[in-house]
């Protein structure tokens, strides 16, 4: 359609923080003078169940409220979803779709598995990074760090600023520092095909 916007679809399992990430990113880009819209797809809300989240980012106010049909970027927080027909991680994707997958496998291996011709596949061990830095296997914030390695919607420093604001009132300095480290590391450790 005629409106220029970045559309992101998040795939995760309940409890991995994809809802938080999808909505947080929509808020974080405001500082850049951009507009964001973030929402999860609500179904049975239980830990471990496959879920999707959506984020739209544009230079103008976002008016549409429909689901994202053809995401430009697909972020997969749990690699086991690649094998789940119900998760349908490749739905609506095609040539030029950017996939960012939390996995210890290589981009070539994941690319093969996805089987989308012309897709751009990147990988990062976000769970490993989260365990090292935050001490818990919550890959959501590192995945945003990884996203910024392939998209210039904002800089890593700007993301970290927004993260401090977001986490500041709720979490200890240790947790905040862990998240900031996680973002930095994932941004640097993203592997591209």
């Amino acid at each position: 359609m005629s409106v220029q916007m970045t559309e992101i679809r998040w795939h995760a399992r309940g409890g991995q923080g994809a809802k938080t990430a999808a909505m947080f990113l929509a808020e974080a880009v405001l500082e850049k003078g951009k507009y964001g819209q973030g929402f999860p797809e609500y179904g049975p809300e239980r830990r471990g169940a496959p879920m999707r989240g959506y984020t739209r980012i544009a230079d103008a106010p976002i008016r549409r409220h429909c689901m994202i049909e053809h995401p430009g970027i697909v972020i997969i927080l749990d690699p086991t979803l690649l094998d789940s027909p119900a998760a349908a991680v490749t739905a609506g994707t095609g040539e030029g779709t950017v996939f960012i997958v939390n996995t210890t496998e290589t981009p070539a291996f994941i690319s093969d598995k996805l089987g989308i011709k012309g897709a751009e596949v990147h990988t990062v061990d976000a769970t490993g990074i989260a365990l090292d830095t935050i001490g818990r296997p919550i890959p959501n914030m590192p995945m945003i760090g990884a996203l910024l390695a392939v998209n210039d919607m904002m800089t890593v420093e700007e993301l970290k600023g927004a993260l401090v604001t977001q986490l500041g009132s709720k979490f200890s300095q240790v947790v905040i520092d862990g998240n900031l480290n996680a973002v930095d590391r994932a941004n640097k450790e993203l592997v591209s095909a």
Partner: protein, 391 residues
């Protein structure tokens, strides 16, 4: 005045708007997707940011009863619900309006059972359309916030004194993080103003009776006086909206007209789907298709005169309803609108869409535009249509 740009869910935005009115009482009972709104409000109270008395009740029937009691006592009062919760309030919803109590309520629109569905449609609000409340609808979190701010001024206006329902789409608006401008607390409160109940039960110097037995002698006269309030409410809504526009730069009327000046074909709808339709309209406008959108903000009182004027002479009109009237002809908005157009030779078609949260996507808007093009060119189609359903 600086208005802060923030990203909030619709529920959070409305919680802020209610807080800014410094209400005395909130009657609280949870139901998805409303729960998060009162959850946010409870946070304000727990953090000492609001001194609203939160009355936790055991059902929605009790929530509306508590709201009626508090409002009759003289307190600025609000509550919130969705779907089945609203249905359970039923008899007391009528009482609130009949007693002319200026209660504000967020109705986070959700389908009614069965089968059980937590997602958006407008069946809840439409079920209560004849109860006497003012119904305002919103396209996004900004409009939900703005309507919630304005709702107090409308409800408490002495020409109105009716409860106001601030409708916004469940999940689609309530749970979506969206950018919006918020008023500073002092500016919002100055606009809303301090509430003084003119006839309060707790005003012991001036004792009154509220809600007594009212039979064949005077009940009808009381209803006649209530009926007379709705045309005045339309005027007050416009006046308050104009004043709000001067303050914020965001102007509202009973409807929003989008690309309507030269539109031969018009889509009419309420709520979040209007935003989606605008994006598709832009695309068809680029191709030279004269299509426009009429988004209804005030559903009760229904702006009959406004609609009959603005739709006069159009070639084809599609009314999209996010609810059905079982056994009726087309959806509730369609029926009202066609009634408003009585005597005019404008072809009007009904579409039912999005029941139970079925995604209203760009393709569905295109389908409607293509249908309108067909009938505007002299073709025929069904009077009542289902949109976005498996064939």
């Amino acid at each position: 005045m600086e208005q802060k740009l923030v990203a909030l869910s619709g529920n959070e935005a409305v919680a802020y708007a209610f807080k800014q009115a410094l209400p005395h009482v909130a009657a609280v009972f949870p139901i998805t997707p409303q729960t998060e709104m009162m959850h946010k409000y409870a946070e304000f109270v727990a953090n000492g940011e609001s001194d609203t008395e939160m009355i936790l009740v055991e059902s929605e029937h009790s929530a509306m009863s508590a709201a009626v009691g508090a409002s009759a006592a003289g307190a600025r009062t609000f509550t919130a619900t969705s779907s089945a919760g609203f249905a359970l309030m039923w008899e007391v919803v009528y009482i609130a309006a009949s007693l002319r109590l200026p209660i504000c309520m967020a109705l986070v629109n959700r389908a009614l059972s069965g089968n059980i569905n937590i997602h958006c449609d407008h069946s809840d609000s439409m079920g209560g359309r004849d109860a006497g409340w003012i119904h305002l609808f919103a396209e996004n979190a900004q409009e939900a916030y703005d309507n919630a701010i304005m709702s107090w001024r409308i409800a408490e206006h002495m020409d109105v004194r009716l409860p106001v329902m601030v409708n916004y789409d469940g999940f689609i608006i309530s749970h979506t993080a969206d950018a919006l401008h918020m008023l500073p607390d002092d500016v919002a409160y100055k606009f809303i103003g301090k509430y003084k109940a003119d006839y309060a039960l707790l005003d012991v110097e001036n004792p009154i009776t509220v809600g007594p037995l009212d039979l064949t002698d005077y009940y009808f006269e009381h209803k006649a006086s209530q009926l007379a309030a709705y045309p005045r409410a339309l005027e007050v809504i416009k006046k308050v909206s104009d004043e709000f526009g001067e303050l914020t730069g965001r102007y509202y009327d009973h409807c929003e007209e989008y690309m309507m000046d030269d539109a031969d074909m018009v889509m009419v709808m309420l709520g979040s789907s209007a935003g989606t339709a605008k994006d598709v309209i832009d695309e068809y406008r680029e191709k030279g298709v004269k299509v426009g959108l009429l988004k209804i903000r005030t559903f009760r009182p229904f702006p009959f005169d406004y609609l009959s004027k603005v739709l006069a002479g159009r070639k084809a009109v599609a009314v999209l309803d996010r609810s059905a009237s079982y056994g009726g002809q087309g959806g509730p908005v369609f029926m009202e609108l066609r009634h408003a157009m009585y005597g005019q030779q404008v072809p009007i078609y009904s579409y039912i869409y999005g029941l139970g949260g079925r995604d209203f996507d760009l393709h569905q808007v295109e389908t409607v535009i293509k249908d309108l093009q067909k009938v505007a060119a002299g073709g025929e189609m069904n009077n009542v249509n289902l949109l976005g359903i498996r064939s």
